[in-house]
Symmetry: C2
Subunit: 716 residues, 2 copies
Amino acid sequence: MGQLLVEGMDEEGITMTASLREIFESRSIAVVGASEDPSKAGHQVVRTLLAAGYLGKIYPVNRNEKQILGLPCYSSIAEIKGPLDLIVISLPGKAVISVMEEAEQRGDVKGVVVLSAGFAETAIPENVEAQRQLVEIARRAGIRVFGPNCIGIMNPDRRLVTGFHPGISLVPGNVGYVTQSGALGGSLVTMALSQPKPLGFARFGHVGNMCDVSNQELIEEYGNDPRIEVILVYLEGVKDGREFMRVASRVTKNKPVLVLKVGRTQIGAKAALSHTGTLAGADAVYNGAFKQCGVVRANTVHDLIAGAKAVSMLPKPRGNRVCILTEAGGMGVVSMDEVEAGGVLELAPMSQETCERLTALLPPMAMVCKPNGYVDMTAAAMAKEFGDAIRLVLSDANVDMVVLNSIPPTFLPAMDVAQAIVPVVKELGKPVAACFTVGQAMAETRRYLEESGIPTFESPDYAVRALAMLTQATFSVSHPLGDVPSARHPILDRAVLEARHPLEPESLDFLSDHGIAVMPHVLARTREEAQRAAMEMNSPVVLKIVAPQVIHKSDIGGVKVNLQGNEAVGQGHDQMVNDVKSAIAAADIHGVLVVPMAQPGTEVIVGMVRDAQFGPTIMFGTGGVFVELFKDVSFRIAPFDKEVALDMIKETKGYQVLRGMRGEKQKDIASLAELLVQVSQLAARYPQIKEVDLNPIRVHENGYSVLDARILLDAE
Amino acid sequence: MGQLLVEGMDEEGITMTASLREIFESRSIAVVGASEDPSKAGHQVVRTLLAAGYLGKIYPVNRNEKQILGLPCYSSIAEIKGPLDLIVISLPGKAVISVMEEAEQRGDVKGVVVLSAGFAETAIPENVEAQRQLVEIARRAGIRVFGPNCIGIMNPDRRLVTGFHPGISLVPGNVGYVTQSGALGGSLVTMALSQPKPLGFARFGHVGNMCDVSNQELIEEYGNDPRIEVILVYLEGVKDGREFMRVASRVTKNKPVLVLKVGRTQIGAKAALSHTGTLAGADAVYNGAFKQCGVVRANTVHDLIAGAKAVSMLPKPRGNRVCILTEAGGMGVVSMDEVEAGGVLELAPMSQETCERLTALLPPMAMVCKPNGYVDMTAAAMAKEFGDAIRLVLSDANVDMVVLNSIPPTFLPAMDVAQAIVPVVKELGKPVAACFTVGQAMAETRRYLEESGIPTFESPDYAVRALAMLTQATFSVSHPLGDVPSARHPILDRAVLEARHPLEPESLDFLSDHGIAVMPHVLARTREEAQRAAMEMNSPVVLKIVAPQVIHKSDIGGVKVNLQGNEAVGQGHDQMVNDVKSAIAAADIHGVLVVPMAQPGTEVIVGMVRDAQFGPTIMFGTGGVFVELFKDVSFRIAPFDKEVALDMIKETKGYQVLRGMRGEKQKDIASLAELLVQVSQLAARYPQIKEVDLNPIRVHENGYSVLDARILLDAE
């Protein structure tokens, strides 16, 4: 999967695998499981193809019928004489396999859509096995499979639809849909088509169980299809996160990819096992991955449609500065709330000249540039003022885009307003989103505006969010994942050999070997060694027990801080060894680690976990109890460069602390970013490392100190 | 304002003031400024009254016309022979005053709606004066005024509408609207009426500038009106927050009040002046005030409508436990996301028996109780299974309500599903919200469901939020503001006399006088006094400079911590006095405050500010830099009792720290709540106190220590 095979013989010269594009353009479709019984999906597929006016041949297949909905019926696909491009199968589990075998024998079938559920999604062994067989035959025969458990594909160009939704319209347009849910995918299309100017689509694909064709493969196909200008994805999860990111990084360079990812509050059970893991809610990892590969995320179906309208209809903004031009204060306030809450756009700092000219133009009760970027024209503004005001605003070099709010129709006909602004907006070529509330009374005006290139929205918050998504799509940068060859390291090899995780001094040495600055440290095996080490460090010291069996050192007296002087160090050493021995009799004590007390600084955490979907994933967060409480953490997929590392630091609120709050000096953010890059490299280079936990790290004005380092290896 | 006058002679026996209810039921309306010109508001008002079929007399008034829209026209209101209840004025500023004078002379006019803008909202002195005159005449004449700058009132019972929105329908129902924005109020009604079963209304009032009738007075009137079961409020702000709370506390005892408060990111400039003040974003204060008086807050117009549907159509739930019953996994996941993100509802812990019976009932691929409270029936479920499944779920005593998601119509007709569930839902009497997506294909089914008492929603997140608002409305408790008589205190009096704020030792003594536990402290006037005090405390001490001119003590060496021993204390004292003198030559040093070092504990902040709308307002937050960073603060309006204090502590994330995280013991939350109550009492008792800042307070396992106390007096 993942790669797109072009038409032709494959390397071994045996089978030909069709491209997805060819399958979308199928010229003939067999519906296996077609029926005269309207309660059967197989009936509805034929009915829907007929109703849509499919531009190709339809072959119903059912050995018990002579004719279905007026079409001659075949008893098997072998009986079909002409070429056969696509098969839609609506039969229960096992029967699907026989159809696949017949398709293999024909040799001309390019694709199969398996509507039937009851395969791997049930997690029942025999059904999982049936899906495996299905894939095996498909691979052998060079047939691509959508599903099982899906509604398949739609292509308005050929009036092709393999699903069983009566009444879906095939309105052509520039959107490509990828969906993992037939229900929400269908809703999405229906909502898109019920916009004042229907938001038509070029391709629709529901991937179901993804036994063969996956969501990322569809994204890649849409990326290469010149008809498609916007890609909308409804995502529940990805099978191979890194492959998804590689594809998305390529595609988002050329066209926007908007994703509705649900399951945002589900937390993987596995990820909850370790301290860092409890924070690695899979959804936060998706957030980081999306940012890294330039994907724009929407939070609801309605937001996704709003964003798609903006992205598909509007020119690209030159920046993120928006002017709110409103006819009603209430709607203006709602817009302003959303500008601030969204955090993507900012109010345009319009020139004094623009403000003065607006004041001269507008009725005396208008509120102009209070604050700057906000203009309440009031209901006293007439159509001419709308036109003149939007001209002034759009002509200001500090304005990148405009949200225009108009109120429910009064005696100022909405259409007059629309006709006054359309030519100005067309002439000046900047993005404008309009909120013309509400209801039937505005329908005609909204249609006119959308046909003139101005998307319209039900309420001002949607208009603002739509422009925010347009801005994100315009300025998002993708950072493709690099390739780092796997490697071995003597410290890791030794630990594996001894079936244990690296001890803390080993972890520190390992990090140091890879350019990470660690504290000076000595593993003291006796009281005297500890005393000597402390003396040489010429500083108060920390003692920590080193024993593979001890995980939570402090709980059993295995950590002592701020010891000063020969006596204190010696006594601390002995007491620690005794305490640990009496707590864990079997503890294999390698010695006591002596480390100087660290300079003060801002505490942060850097962690690495292996995400089930995305592999090595780096976490950054503000230290202490507040990480748990406020989840002030960010994630990115390893490996990455310094630019990504800085992004992930800036994403947290803790960044404000690092920059220096309350008169504190700025901390060394550059070296912290360098550390994140180094950990991300390690994570990619050593797949045998399961988890890294550098917690806490103290960031100073110059450099940082890693106060505690834990590296866990994969037991397998 | 605020009180509702009943019909009859007032105390002085001179004028009669009509109740708002009488005005809503006006039997005759004069439209002053009526016109034959369709571009004038005065024309549209008459047209709209005629179109609505107003059940009363319409008198157009315009001295230049004989007839308007077929009705005889009057040259002034004096000319109108019959009784006149209500006047709608659509004339520019000054002319409004003359009409008011004529109305006063008639003696029978009960209410006036002033549509015209151009009064106090412009902040232009002569317009403000015109509004003042208007009010003066109205008071004298016993006439109630809506506006200026409003669209007035609607009452479907009498087909009465004073606005100029063509095409608004007057569908009777149980909702009462209060709006501060004509535009958003109009949108709200239009959206409500475009629901599958129109959400009709009993009364609508747009208060505009609120020169006389205010939003809280309308809320009170609706509270007393038996026709109204739900009150929807669009709020930009209140004039008198405490009066608003008193009214809301009374009304929410009997019927739900749902408020859309906009301007959530605006921060009062005044509030930003002091440290505590910067956090007192007015909107967070509104949040606290709403909770305190039982008001349910919605965040968007769409949420408000969703909540209103649930509250007006559904029975009250017995708890907050919801079962998500879905036909499609995607919609189920969206529902689950919203349950967790909303934080109001929780998944119902259904009995093992229910889970087992569901498993037996549903198709084999169904996901039952994974997790418990969630049932994905899959698209293989037929109408009968819908009916039987919802019966099982609703019969479980652990289920308080259900969200039912159905997918776009397939071969299973949506209406069959609806007809299977309606009788079960009616029989079992628990709230059910349905999401039947999407579009025209579902219109008939949604109408049937809503007419059968099951509200329907466009997407699953709205269904969940609607039930969450219903739950909040059911279980909200109002805590009416108590009355605390004002008082004086010698410490405050002395400070006022000397035109300064209380010094820190005075603040501590003042707090102590009111039962608040403060640290032992001594004001040392010499080095020797400081040393003696420290010795008697028998603990390391903190020294702090006491001088009215010094605000930021630590910045100029005015705080020294952890001093131990005679020498250290003496030296610390002298150095502090020198440092402060050289930093601020004019500093009037009263001495050095000696305080023992506090025990460790969890740091929190308690503050008091006077909010422009709500008066004395108490803030609680987690201490340190994180207050600023994460805004982990809660507000309530003073005075309040311990129950409210506990609510405000529990509202913060810091509550988890106080309860004891990471093996720490629980801190003394009860005494912290007591402290909040005491500060709230002080705030109410001493209006001369402008601000209190107890920051930080360290909360121990037993009791707390106030480490720094600052009281600022009102300069006026």
